[in-house]
């Protein structure tokens, strides 16, 4: 008891005098994997094959017992019905919201693809896309392209935030965005444009 009390006092003193640093571990490798998986989904698989998505499978708790003698052991049922798999250090991107954003971006990508290829649009350093040269776009398509870019960027903002929120760390949003920004550019096809660190357009 006495030592515990002393330790508590020492702890309080340490708190009062020391600077407390809280390190929040950002799973950078997992974020990169998650980004690649979504980029595969949106752009189609690149040189890497698509990773199968781990889907947790489990069922409701079940079983009952009765004092009258009928006792179905919960443990037995639990063997039949596996629990959900632990997620480990992975960054989970399986929520319906994230999947629906990915699906919406994948559909839109088919419309955006010709504009990436002509250089009319390019990837920015903050994980968004931008119209690079309107003069490469027929007049009648310009507003449609502006709409596609606006909608895609709305999806991108939602994607980065939802991944952070779904993994219980909303403060990771900017790191997730950075990870994605880097991977979008690294995975961009030859001939596509992106903004480099100084904000200048470069062609891959």
């Amino acid at each position: 008891m006495k030592t515990g009390w002393l330790a508590g006092l020492a702890g309080t003193a340490a708190l009062a005098t020391a600077c407390v640093t809280i390190n929040v571990y950002f799973p950078a490798a997992a974020a990169e994997q998650a980004a690649d998986q979504i980029i595969d989904g949106v752009w189609g698989p690149g040189e890497r094959g698509r990773r199968p998505q781990a889907e947790p499978q489990a069922q409701l708790p079940r079983g009952f017992d009765s004092r009258a003698g009928m006792r179905l052991a919960g443990q037995v049922l639990d063997l039949v019905v596996p629990s959900a798999h632990a997620q480990g250090a992975d960054l989970d991107i399986s929520s319906p919201a994230i999947r629906s954003i990915e699906a919406s971006m994948a559909t839109r990508h088919q419309q955006l693809l010709p504009y990436y290829e002509t250089g009319a649009i390019g990837l920015t350093g903050n994980g968004m896309i931008e119209v690079r040269d309107q003069n490469l776009v027929p007049l009648a398509e310009r507003n449609q392209l502006r709409r596609l870019v606006t909608e895609d960027n709305a999806d991108r903002n939602n994607l980065y935030r939802e991944i952070a929120v779904a993994n219980g760390n909303p403060q990771w949003e900017s790191q997730i965005r950075e990870t994605f920004a880097r991977r979008w550019i690294e995975r961009a096809r030859d001939g596509w444009y992106y903004r480099d660190g100084r904000g200048e357009w470069q062609q891959k």
Binding site: E55, P56, Q57, A58, Q59, L60, P61, R62, G63, F64, D65, S66, R67, A68, M70, L72, G74, Q75, L77, D78, V80, V81, S83, A84, A86, Q87, D92, S94, S95, P96, A97, S100, I101, S104, D133, Q134, N135, V137, P138, L139, A140, R142, N143, R146, R147, T150, E151, A154, D155, N158, E162, V165, A166, N167, G168
Partner: protein
């Protein structure tokens, strides 16, 4: 007139004598009297001549020994008024020079000069200069900017000037390189811009000595394909016909009437795109120029059948002025899609579909709108995803920059918000400056209840999306109708609530108030309600929900779950719906520990509680327990904390590493015990859905 002192001729063979700078007319007037025409040739060196904003440098006139056989006028450099500017090495060759007592004529002439890097020539050319001050210059077939220029300029002895020009198919790119457009390029306006196409201009002009001017002509643009460097303005194969007429006095008032029709090609001025081939645009304008003041007497613009606009206005050289759109008639959706929607990209209104018609007026002073009026007539509005729809919308909106404002109103006959029927509504409000205010109650019928908004205030009307604040009250809406509209199992009861201090800001709707749902004999309180990105593809709702004293008998009856009697308390905290689907919450519900009323659970409810587990739980009906209809229970409850699609589960008490979902009481006793702590939420939802089907099958 250009004044010159008497020139002194000199023999070509003799030493050259240069006269002081003089003028052309007097020189020519003097010529007939000059001696030494018999000389083999004659060169007059006139030096520099200037006057009327024109300066000629190193003027030299050379005549053959027999002047009727030809002559030559050379000017090293000439400075002419804008837009021509400086021209160089001007040379006029005349095949024949005719000299009479009344005039001198140059016939079969050929003029050549260079302007910048370009060399121009005009041929054949006839020039007649009368000694009475009259003048005539005619030229045909002058190559100019890839096209042809022909002209006739005459001035009679009294000084009346008449001119005719006809320029056909001038190349715009060459024209742009020519003259002052080149200086605009330096200003960046046309830097790196591309321009191709042709222009044809014809003009007739008459200018009397009294300053009376009469001029008219046409301008035709064809196949104009142009783009600014940033691509924000561009045209493709654009074509325009313009007729103009200018009348009045140069020193007092000039009236300009324009009539233009653009019916070829396409134009894009970010963000507006016009396909003129599909929908020609016509403009008629009457302007009056008095000194530095420009008055728009009448402007009429017509975009096919979709838009017509009438305007008046005035502008001074200092930029001050006003413009009044006296009438604007527009048909929806064409006008909205063409001129309004492109500006709303990314806002909740950018996916609005409309039909009907509108009319509007506006007044703009010193470049700023001061007054707007808008009438909507039988307009229907609908978001593309059908989240919001209003039909038979009529409105009279009056906006003033300042001062007193008439009341605006907007009404609709019926509508729909996320499939919930909205009844006939009339909203009254005022629009002034950046503010909308609607003091008092605005009642919007919703199903069999109503949403009452009180003291609506909005600021930032000039911005894309204003901020709204209001007090909201929901008059009781029957749950039967609400659940039916939402496609949920029909529930009895009602939904009502008060949301004071609600706001809609940065696309976030929130309120510190509370919604109260009176249902199943108890009540459900919805707290900390916040909806982000309403009417976007991914709306997000967060709320805390607490429910107390729900009658389980009514609840289970509603969901055909099998009967349970007793009461239920619970809460769903940190509820987060993404696109109206739960993505996170901490839910906990249980019978209150202190409830001492009847607590019975039917065999079917037990079956259902277990069969949710995958259809294997029909255990009860198989054993001898099937002889009992229902059982007593002590407590029942379940909790689920949803995160990452995983439901972390618990019950009312721990048992053998698991937890009680139902803890039985008395004999025969039945317990339902949960084992799994982590359950996949999608699987759970699928099982609940199949349970619903199972029940429907039972009902049938």
């Amino acid at each position: 007139m250009i004044a010159i002192p008497a020139p002194r001729p000199c023999a070509h063979s003799g030493p050259a004598v240069t006269w002081p700078a003089t003028g052309l007319a007097l020189l020519l007037a003097v010529l007939p009297a000059a001696p030494a025409w018999s000389a083999p040739g004659l060169t007059l060196t006139l030096g520099d001549v200037s006057g009327h904003g024109i300066s000629l440098y190193d003027v030299e006139l050379a005549l053959d020994a027999d002047p009727t056989q030809g002559g030559q006028l050379r000017i090293a450099r000439a400075q002419l008024p804008a837009p021509v500017g400086q021209i160089e090495t001007l040379q006029l060759d005349c095949a024949r020079v005719r000299l009479t007592t009344r005039n001198v004529r140059c016939q079969g002439g050929n003029a050549a000069f260079s302007h910048g890097a370009q060399v121009f020539s005009a041929s054949p050319l006839e020039l007649r200069i009368g000694f009475d001050g009259s003048l005539s210059l005619q030229f045909a077939g002058t190559a100019l900017a890839g096209g042809q220029l022909a002209g006739l300029i005459t001035r009679d002895a009294a000084g009346t000037l008449q001119a005719q020009f006809d320029a056909t198919r001038l190349d715009l790119a060459e024209l742009a390189a020519f003259a002052t457009l080149a200086s605009l390029a330096d200003d960046g306006l046309l830097a790196d811009a591309s321009l191709a196409g042709s222009v044809g201009i014809d003009a007739q002009l008459r200018l009397g000595t009294d300053g009376r001017l009469g001029a008219e002509g046409h301008l035709v643009l064809n196949e104009v394909t142009a783009a600014s460097a940033d691509g924000r303005a561009a045209s493709e194969a654009f074509g325009l016909d313009l007729a103009w007429r200018l009348t009045g006095f140069t020193d007092s008032a000039l009236a300009l009437d324009l009539s233009a029709m653009a019916d070829r090609g396409q134009v894009y001025v970010e963000p507006v795109f016009l396909d003129l081939a599909a929908g020609p645009i016509a403009l008629d304008a009457d302007l009056l120029v008095e000194g530095s003041r420009l008055t728009l007497t009448r402007v009429a613009l017509r975009d096919g059948e979709d838009l017509s606009l009438q305007a008046r206005g005035a502008m001074d050289a200092d930029g001050s002025g006003w413009l009044a759109i006296t009438q604007l008639q527009a048909r929806l959706p064409a006008t909205f899609e063409r001129y309004v929607q492109p500006f709303l990209l990314g806002s909740p209104l950018d996916n609005l579909q409309s039909s009907g018609s509108l009319s509007a007026t506006a007044r703009i002073e010193q470049g700023r709108a001061t007054q707007l009026g808008l009438n909507l007539d039988a307009v229907s509005l609908r978001t593309r995803d059908d989240a919001l729809a209003l039909s038979s919308v009529d409105a009279r909106l009056d906006w003033r920059h300042e001062g007193s404002v008439p009341t605006s109103w907007l009404r609709w006959h019926d509508g729909r918000l996320y499939n919930l029927a909205l009844g006939p509504t009339e909203l009254g409000f005022t629009l002034q400056g950046e503010r909308l205010s609607a003091p008092g109650r605005q009642r919007i019928p919703l199903l069999d209840g109503a949403l009452v908004l009180t003291d609506i205030e909005a600021t930032g009307l000039g911005r894309g999306l204003p901020d709204f604040s209001f007090d909201a009250q929901l008059e009781p809406v029957s749950l039967a109708l609400l659940t039916e509209a939402l496609g949920w199992p029909t529930m009895g009861g009602s939904l009502a609530g008060v949301l004071p201090g609600a706001s809609y800001r940065d696309r976030v709707l929130e309120s510190p108030g509370e919604l109260v749902v009176e249902v199943f004999g108890g009540h459900v309180n919805v707290d900390a309600l916040r909806i982000e990105a309403l009417l976007s593809p991914l709306p997000r709702l967060t709320a805390d929900i607490v429910f107390r004293n729900l009658d389980l008998e009514q609840l289970t009856g509603t969901f055909a779950f099998g009967q349970i009697t007793g009461r239920l308390d619970g809460e769903i905290l940190g509820l987060r719906l993404l696109n109206w689907r739960p993505s996170a919450f901490a839910a906990r519900m249980a019978t209150p520990a202190d409830y001492r009323g009847p607590r019975r659970i039917s065999q079917r409810a037990v079956d259902n509680l277990t069969s949710i587990g995958g259809g294997m739980g029909a255990g009860l009906s198989g054993g001898f327990m099937r002889f009992f209809d229902d059982f007593n229970y002590d407590r029942l409850g379940i909790s689920c904390t949803l995160r990452n699609e995983i439901c972390q589960m618990d019950g009312v008490a721990p048992v053998n590493g698991g937890y009680y979902i139902v803890r039985g009481r008395g004999l025969p006793r039945i317990n339902v015990i949960g084992g799994a702590r982590r359950v996949s939420w999608p699987v759970l939802l699928r099982q609940l859905a199949s349970l619903d089907q199972l029940d429907q099958a039972v009902v049938q």
